[in-house]
Symmetry: C2
Subunit: 266 residues, 2 copies
DNA sequence: CGTGCTGTTGAGGACGATCAATGACGGTGG
DNA sequence: CCACCGTCATTGATCGTCCTCAACAGCACG
């Protein structure tokens, strides 16, 4: 079996296939609409999408956005998988969030350019990223104020995800991993069962050692939740949700921020 | 460590005797001038402060803001100590943040009224709270746009605090507790050495059992960091910072959000 | 065919949870 | 003033989860 890495899915555009394949092959053939966490599709997004220009191809393992990044543009993941992380002083990697096609990268870093947090966005597979110039975004936001709501909503959801993770950090490793898997399924889309992450990456995000993560995987396989092969494939989503006591509401922006209008001054 | 302004903070004026004491006694005697992150000039804050009306006295242990709170007003802690928390299904309490006089309570809940997170703000001592009506706030924000930046900046700092806590959750208990104490010192102010929290509350926030928290306290006392009496009193702040590898930058709003303007529509 | 990354398995040990009981302190009512 | 009570702090003992170290197997890639 091929590696899981390199697989990405498209669930933004309606007609786009979301087939899984392996290793290093870039499969996303196009991306019609951006998908930020919590940003439901709307007519404004069409206008938004026109602002995006594909800028760069990023090799797997490279840093997309560095620690002291003061962005004059907003970065968007067009294709591939990435994560936001920091390094502990002992070298261990703390992963805060995974990003999939359509996600804004380090949104809070764009909204708060002066943040001194040593955050880093790293490509977990070969990626394509798009950028939106700050000036262009400014204009768009003036025409479509609700777009700003979406931006802020997405940032607030990032915070919700962090809070949620604080909760499960106090639970045993199996539930921690299970919850993380649930979250990825929810982010990836309804019919997605294959999670494009390695055990190492899941371990770094769940705060569990790689060895123990592997044992948890085996437990989950015995429970009939994960498939037997080397892939991270969920075969019993219902059971997984039960094990994790997962409630995906915290990922919904819903009508978040309704009534608010965000715009950019000069 | 420059300006450590705290989370969601409209902090008391500097000259005010806001000395805290141990569990049970709420001693903040007054609150004259608010202070908010990211706003150098205080003329906006004066206008802001006039909107606040003291509404209620909250008894220790009571809930200030319930889980499904859809606020038509913004709540502000005038006096006392409070915390934002959730309950685990087993009854354990997860504390996300402590609030001190001048802090906004559950700011994200105000910015995202539709959030379904079961968050709760609870009074840890007898408290006085103030409220700002949403309509009034709306008007004020239109006259003083930078206030909106402050609101959003404070919300983003809440997220930073959560992220930071995710980092230290992977470190041993002593450093976890030490870091939490550092954070409280930074939030309380420069000269404050007495932390108005019980070991139980610190345990619930640090994710350590109460028993083990007590043992950590004793270790910290042997290290000469905490005083010998039953109070949570820091006598060697420098050493505490070293133990925790604390860097308070993540609490700075700095010039966050400069260039942004937030206002409220209807 | 080596090299590197990921996944897998075993053994030993540390950290911290849990249970249980006691001490210290403040407040309350008799 | 004293007995009683509730909350918080403290201590000991036991046990489980999970980390660490170490080695090896499978697979992709040059």
């Amino acid at each position: 079996m091929g590696k899981v890495l390199g697989v990405c899915s498209l669930r933004c555009g309606a007609g786009l296939g979301s087939h899984m394949q392996h290793a290093g092959k870039a499969l996303c053939l196009g991306l019609e609409k951006p998908r930020a966490p919590g940003v439901a599709s709307s007519r404004h997004l069409d206008a938004f999408w026109k602002l995006v220009k594909v800028r760069d191809r990023i090799e797997r393992g490279e840093t997309i956005i560095g620690p002291m990044h003061r962005s004059k543009h907003l970065t968007l993941l067009v294709e591939g998988v990435a994560c936001m992380s920091t390094r502990h002083e002992d070298g261990a990697r703390q992963i805060y969030a995974f990003y999939y096609p359509g996600d804004f990268l380090a949104l809070h870093g764009f909204l708060m350019p002066s943040s001194t947090e040593p955050l880093e966005v790293q490509a977990l597979t070969n990626c394509f990223i798009g950028t939106i110039d700050r000036n262009l975004l400014e204009q768009a936001l003036q025409h479509h104020p609700s777009l700003g709501q979406s931006l802020w909503g997405a940032a607030m959801i990032e915070a919700s995800v962090h809070r949620q993770r604080l909760i499960i950090m106090r639970r045993p490793a199996l539930q921690r991993v299970a919850h993380l898997l649930c979250e990825q399924l929810a982010r990836l889309g309804s019919d997605q069962r294959l999670i494009p992450l390695s055990q190492i990456e899941i371990a770094d995000a769940a705060g569990v050692s790689v060895v123990h993560t592997n044992r948890v995987f085996q437990d989950l396989r015995k429970l009939g939740v994960l498939s037997k092969d080397r892939l991270t494939e969920v075969v019993d989503k219902q059971r997984l949700h039960e094990l994790a006591t997962f409630d995906g509401h915290y990922l919904d922006a819903g009508e978040a921020l309704s009534g608010w209008d965000v715009r950019i001054e000069g």
